[in-house]
């Protein structure tokens, strides 16, 4: 079911003249997990937003399997199998957790039986939110809300899952829950994952391949094991640039 993602020379600019991404290349093989790391402001989130269609792409190509998707709008990309769990809060606070999950299957909402099955399945994924399915999402803790977002992102059975710092601010128990689920997804070999993580070591443990971004461009990349080997050098390199992450 899943597809490879190929990104070529991707450029993104939120406002007319300031380019945040200045030509990023990336390859994520089908059913693999690619981790994206880099200093604050490197453009990691911007890359995922560009792929999800919620940030304006000004140049480059995005291929999902055989399909070019960079010209599609966000809704069409969801239809093409892209699911994005952004770094920012994205739950619907006045709706219950179940209603949030229901919206996760928006593009296939006419397929009622499928939708009910997926809601039931994803509602069952995380112990930390399972008892709260009938509560309003806005009343849950920040960590619980993040889990709702991740579960919602899985309802639609995506072919490409974009996770932007899914564990930031989560308790250790919840972090374990998330990584258990990520591992399970990898095992099922049904989805290609791009994972942006600050917890570099956790990410490297599950990743197949790792890309390092800096200042809106590719810095380096390699198989997870290789990157893990030279991680100290890479991080030292960031430190010297910290605070100048913005491409300008």
């Amino acid at each position: 079911m899943s597809e490879a993602i190929t990104i070529k020379g991707l450029r993104v600019a939120y406002e007319s003249d300031i380019e945040i991404l200045r030509g990023v290349d990336m390859l994520g093989g089908a059913n693999t997990l690619t981790a994206i790391i880099g200093p604050n402001g490197a453009g990691k989130s911007t890359l995922l937003k560009g792929v999800a269609g919620v940030a304006p792409v000004t140049g480059g190509e995005i291929h999902l399997g055989g399909q070019r998707i960079e010209a599609l709008n966000a809704a069409q990309r969801v239809g093409a199998g892209v699911s994005f769990v952004p770094q920012e809060a994205s739950v619907f606070g006045q709706m219950t957790v179940l209603e949030n999950l229901r919206l996760g299957g928006w593009h296939r909402r006419k397929d009622k039986a499928w939708l009910e099955r997926r809601i039931a399945f994803c509602g069952d994924l995380f112990h930390s939110i399972k008892p709260h399915l009938e509560r309003r999402a806005g009343d849950l803790s920040g960590g619980q809300q993040k889990l709702v977002e991740i579960a919602r992102g899985l309802v639609g059975e995506p072919r490409l899952l974009l996770l932007d710092e899914p564990t930031a601010g989560l308790s250790p128990v919840m972090v374990r829950e998330v990584y258990r689920e990520i591992a399970r997804l990898k095992e099922s070999r049904s989805v290609t994952v791009l994972l942006v993580e600050q917890n570099v070591r956790e990410a490297l443990a599950v990743a197949d391949h790792v890309y390092v971004l800096a200042m809106g461009q590719n810095d380096t990349d390699g198989p997870a094991a290789e990157i893990a080997g030279r991680l100290d050098g890479i991080v030292r390199n960031w430190m010297s640039r910290e605070g100048s992450g913005m491409a300008s």
Binding site: R77, V78, E88, A89, Q94, R102, W106, H107, R109
Partner: protein, 295 residues
Amino acid sequence: MTQLFVQSLLLGLLQGGLYALLAVGLSLVFGILRVVNFAHGEFAMLGSFAAVFVVDMLGLPVWTGLIAAAVAGAAIAYATNILVLRPIYLSRMRQKGEYTIIATFLLSQFLIAAATLSFGTTYRKLPGLWDQNLAIFDYIYLSGNRIVAFVAAIAMIALLFFIVYRTDIGRAWRALTQNPLGAAVVGIDVNRYANLAFLASGAFAGLAAALLAPLMFVFPASGVIALVKAFIVVIIGGLGSIRGTLFAGLLLGVVEVMCTVYIDTGYTDAYGFALMIAVLLFRPQGLFGRTGRAV
């Protein structure tokens, strides 16, 4: 309770239902797009002219005037979204909110001028569905048109409630209102649902104006009054809250009539402002507003 009290309460509620219908689209559009639409009153005004055109000039039955008003209001609202607002909120400029305010304000001035040129400034009248004065138990006195207008307004708001809480369109609207980014990532097409919101907003405004027309007059500047009332209602009720809009509309109607009758007949319009300022002072998010806006 005296007869005057009951009569005033009823009049206020009847008037308030129309205020709510007038304001509900403004609130809906704000919730979904964060656009304060200053041309909303002109959707209403053009709707009432469409009704005059169909009923007075073409000689069609009165009920077709209501449909014409809703259709005209919806069409002009749709065109506004496509031609004026979408280029702004799809653009990559800063301060889109400010630009939409300026753009819709200029549009409202343009529409008033265009209506003045096409129809002149004379007051026009529209027959109603029930042009009869009723004396209920010789105690309450109302015109049939007022009852028709109220029943229609409440029916339309009930329909909107149904759409918002029971249909996919409503689910999409609520999602867009509560978290635009969340709505985007689950694949809700903002353009499509913004268009639908504008259609509903314009239809409700046009219909409200056509229901009011038999009780008052139709003229190019009428939208300004409508907009002021609608603003007061959405501020009292909380921007983006439909429940709040309904409640605030009824409240405004009752407060206006009660204060006119029991305080001073000379300041009808001022009571609404006073109510609005009181709400802003003590509950700035509106009576039904939440920090995270809820439709």
